[in-house]
């Protein structure tokens, strides 16, 4: 097996890539001088993959209870002879995992015994062991995880916003599901999903730290040579058709908080995007949000001086294959007034136009931030695969950013930040 090398001069980084025959794609980014070694094994299976047509079986259609991807993530750590956490612990590693809307990622970081830990990672992710008893036991733990989030105002305001934006798309459901939906999960459902989504062709591995690409390739090929996989018949993910307009203009909830939390979202209108086009959409949107809501802009300063927002106020864009949206907000003393002022601010920018100086400055800032984030091994690995699962080459970020023009921003401003495409979500303190 030969390495393909992806080099990026601007950020001074080099990635070794091996497309393994029938196995997961393998990426290694060596970073000398780091003690930490960080490896992740990801699959393209997230909370939104709750309805699909499995390959074979006469295209059987399967609908899952909410929270299966996350539940499976918890249970994959179980082995027949106990929990794999203990094995990692004996090599001083800290293993973990996380589930997003679109992916599930298993990981560890360590300083010593890299090869031993790496083998554990590859093996446990490919060795499901689910029983009715262990599924039942996990329900108690995940129930507490769900309850913890029910008390978290930032989390609630965010998921309520997604519910307001989307009428049908499963991104409107909590990643962990609900206390009721996880009660419907069985070991058979877990196996079914495992066999569908944990095929190596749906997965990828990323390793970074002071590591040797040759040693890693050897470890992986040796491990894979002992396995046989059925041919990969890709499942068909089915997402319901979603209208352009938002589902509800506003969702509110009361929680034990000191003051309201406000989120505002703009729903993007594409049905499907991937690759460089999706990356360009994401970067254009991020740059636009900087130019409209950034801390150096008049709108932010005005709202801050009026005490309507604080320094934690933020705006960001999420770009996935089947959905995209802008999210902004934070804590505020007066959500209605903040909502009104934000809409006014957007109209003002539309009328006056975006500034050339501001465009150049925010672009520079985004370049710097991208470079700065490369201090973190976790950032590099997690993002590289998350982008790769959208057919995006993460290293092209700076090039695509450079291509954006002020005219692109104007266009994006008028097509995306539109009144009829927005919804708000507010968490209020309990009214006495």
């Amino acid at each position: 097996m030969q390495w393909q090398i992806k080099q990026n001069e601007t950020i001074d980084e080099k990635i070794y890539y091996a497309p393994l025959e029938g196995g997961p794609d393998l990426y290694v980014l060596p970073r000398t001088g780091y003690n930490k070694k960080y490896a992740i094994f990801s699959t393209r299976f997230g909370s939104i993959d709750n309805f699909f047509r499995a390959a074979g079986n006469g295209e059987e259609e399967i609908t899952l209870p909410d929270g299966v991807a996350h539940f499976l993530e918890h249970k994959l750590f179980d082995e027949e002879d106990g929990n794999i956490f203990d094995r990692f612990a004996s090599y001083g590693a800290s293993p973990n995992a996380f589930t997003s809307f679109t992916n599930t990622t298993y990981l560890f970081s360590c300083t010593d015994f890299f090869a031993e830990n790496f083998k554990l990672l590859i093996n446990f992710v490919q060795n499901p062991y689910f029983t009715e008893e262990s599924v039942a036991k996990e329900q108690g733990i995940i129930q507490q995880e769900i309850r913890m989030y029910q008390d978290n105002p930032e989390w609630r305001v965010y998921f309520n916003l997604l519910k307001a934006l989307y009428e049908h798309h499963p991104v409107r459901n909590d990643i962990a599901g609900t206390v009721d939906s996880i009660g419907m999960i069985t070991k058979d459902i877990l196996y079914k999903c495992y066999n569908t989504f944990y095929h190596p062709r749906n997965m990828a591995i990323f390793v970074t730290g002071d590591v040797s690409p040759a040693e890693i390739l050897e470890l992986v090929t040796e491990n894979l040579s002992r396995r046989t996989y059925p041919p990969f018949n890709e499942m068909q993910r089915v997402y319901p058709r979603e209208k352009a307009a938002v589902s509800e203009k506003k969702i509110t909830q009361e929680l034990a908080v000191s003051q309201p939390v406000f989120n505002m979202g703009f729903k993007d209108t594409y049905d499907y995007l991937d690759g460089r086009e999706l990356l360009s959409r994401e970067l254009a949107s991020e740059l636009l949000l900087e130019m409209v809501f950034g801390k150096s802009e008049h709108l932010f300063t005005r709202l801050y001086e009026e005490g309507l927002i604080d320094e934690h106020f933020s705006a960001g864009y999420t770009a996935e294959r089947s959905y995209g949206y802008t999210l902004l907000g934070g804590r505020t003393k007066d959500p209605e007034k903040l909502h009104e002022k934000l809409l006014e601010g957007i109209e003002k920018v539309k009328k006056e136009g975006l500034g050339r100086e501001s465009f150049a400055r925010h672009k520079r800032k985004m370049r710097g931030e991208f470079l700065r984030s490369f201090n973190s091994l976790e950032f590099i690995a997690n993002n590289y695969l998350a982008y790769r699962f959208r057919d995006i080459e993460f290293f092209e970020t700076l090039d695509v950013l450079e291509e954006l023009t002020l005219e692109d921003m104007e266009k994006r401003l008028h097509e995306h930040l539109r009144d009829e495409l927005h919804a708000v979500s507010i968490v209020y303190p309990f009214r006495q």
Partner: protein, 430 residues
């Protein structure tokens, strides 16, 4: 390991350089030390926010932010850090290394901004600008009241407050509304002038920099007048053997109960036995292999999280778990049992080995982030310990079960704090 190169400037500022080629950025952190005290905390906490509003050269927040963005999005941060009974003003600036932006002199330009934020604030009639102080007081009040929004942290902080009602450590890092209300621009400015002149000050620089050049650069930038002689801050109160366990409960309309236990360990970062305590905490609850995670979560399925955490300078240990209110008694019993087991020496060989490796791992990665490097050496300054990471790794290697058991016998439960909903059967019967 990256080693520290330190020097004291004639104006009584200590500079510490950590040169390393591995980061893409250079981080400069300036620390101004103050004692944590009820009367001062809100005032001290207000300072970073007011100082970040503008300098003589960049008089508004917007001017300052524009300048920082021009410097490839240089990141300026100012906040207060609570470490034991210290409240430390921390100003930091992170710039992309000059090699990625040739000809821009990002480090020099950034240092000048940082220095201006600290020593040339925007003034109006010889004092802080009234509007800035007024607005930042409102923002800080919001922050203080906002503690309740995050229930996990709220429960831990409330436990500390109940546990230390008369100690300095019981003061919240942002102070209280009562102490914040009367602060005036004049009073705040006078207070800051004295703080800047007299209190101990340290500067850290981490990144791929030339040592001599950087010393000169920092010395040139930070040349404002200060008093000689190191400002002494009072020592921390650590040793305390509590009497009867305090039980406090608070009711809020919430879904999940938060059970928090506050322990006095009678061991601080300054003590020889600190590493023993760190080890004890690892056995009890800082890792997935620890007794709390294994027993409260994995065996009994009572919680998603159950951990123990040390406040190393004050020597307080907090144990936190998110549980059903009805399961209070069962969870409490399991937690107390784990503590007893360690005291009795019921620690398996695996628990010893796994904890050893996990702790060594944590120390080895200190050098992998500029922020964790600064944090490690900051702890050293406060705890008056000069040892590097290797010292701690060696100590951990040598820990025996006896050390853990001995330190466990100095740990006393002081307070149980239970944050709970109105309904449910849990809690102590009163």
């Amino acid at each position: 390991m990256i080693s520290l190169d330190s020097k004291t400037l004639p104006v009584n500022i200590n500079i510490h350089l950590l040169p390393t080629p591995k980061f893409k950025t250079v981080l400069v952190t300036v620390l101004l030390h103050q004692v944590l005290e009820k009367k001062l905390a809100a005032k001290t906490a207000l300072l970073p926010a007011v100082l970040e509003r503008g300098t003589v050269k960049y008089p508004s927040l917007r001017d300052l932010k524009i300048r920082l963005e021009e410097l490839y999005g240089a990141e300026l941060g100012a906040d207060v850090i609570k470490k034991g009974e210290r409240q430390i003003l921390s100003f930091s600036l992170e710039v992309v290394n000059d090699k990625f932006a040739p000809g821009e002199n990002l480090l020099r330009q950034g240092l000048l901004i940082l220095k201006d934020v600290i020593s040339n604030p925007f003034l109006e009639n010889g004092t802080f600008k009234r509007d800035y102080v007024h607005q930042e007081k409102e923002q800080l009040a919001k922050e203080i009241r906002g503690l309740i929004n995050e229930k996990v942290n709220y429960a831990l902080e409330r436990c500390v407050q109940e546990m230390c009602p008369t100690e300095r450590f019981g003061v919240y890092k942002y102070g209280s509304i009562e102490e914040l209300d009367p602060v005036s621009p004049e009073g705040l400015y006078e207070y800051y002038r004295s703080l800047l002149k007299n209190n101990p000050m340290d500067i850290f620089v981490v990144g791929d920099v030339d040592t001599e050049e950087t010393f000169d650069l920092v010395q040139e930038a930070f040349s404002f007048p200060r008093n000689g002689g190191p400002g002494e801050l009072p020592p921390m109160e650590v040793y305390n053997i509590p009497g009867e366990v305090r039980y406090r409960e608070e009711k809020l309309p919430i879904n999940q109960g938060k059970l928090t236990l506050g322990y006095r360990t009678n061991t601080s970062y300054q003590d020889e036995e600190y590493v023993d305590l760190l080890f004890y905490n690892g056995i009890l609850g800082s890792f997935p292999h620890s007794k709390l995670f294994q027993n409260v979560r994995e065996k009994a399925s009572l919680a998603y999280y159950s951990f123990s955490r040390l406040e190393k300078h004050k020597g307080i240990q907090l144990v936190g778990s998110g549980i059903e209110v009805d399961n209070y008694q069962q969870a409490l019993e399991i937690i107390l049992e784990q503590v007893e087991l360690i005291k009795k020496g019921k620690i398996s060989r695996e628990e010893m080995e796994n904890t050893k490796r996990a702790l060594i791992n944590l120390y080895k990665v200190v050098g992998d982030s500029p922020y964790s490097l600064v944090n490690f050496y900051m702890d050293g300054l406060i705890g008056e310990r000069e040892e590097g990471v290797d010292y701690f790794i060696n100590k951990i290697e040598g820990i025996k079960e006896d050390n853990v058991v001995a330190v466990a016998h100095k740990v006393y439960l002081d307070t149980i704090y239970f944050l709970r909903s109105e309904d449910g059967e849990g809690g102590e019967q009163s």
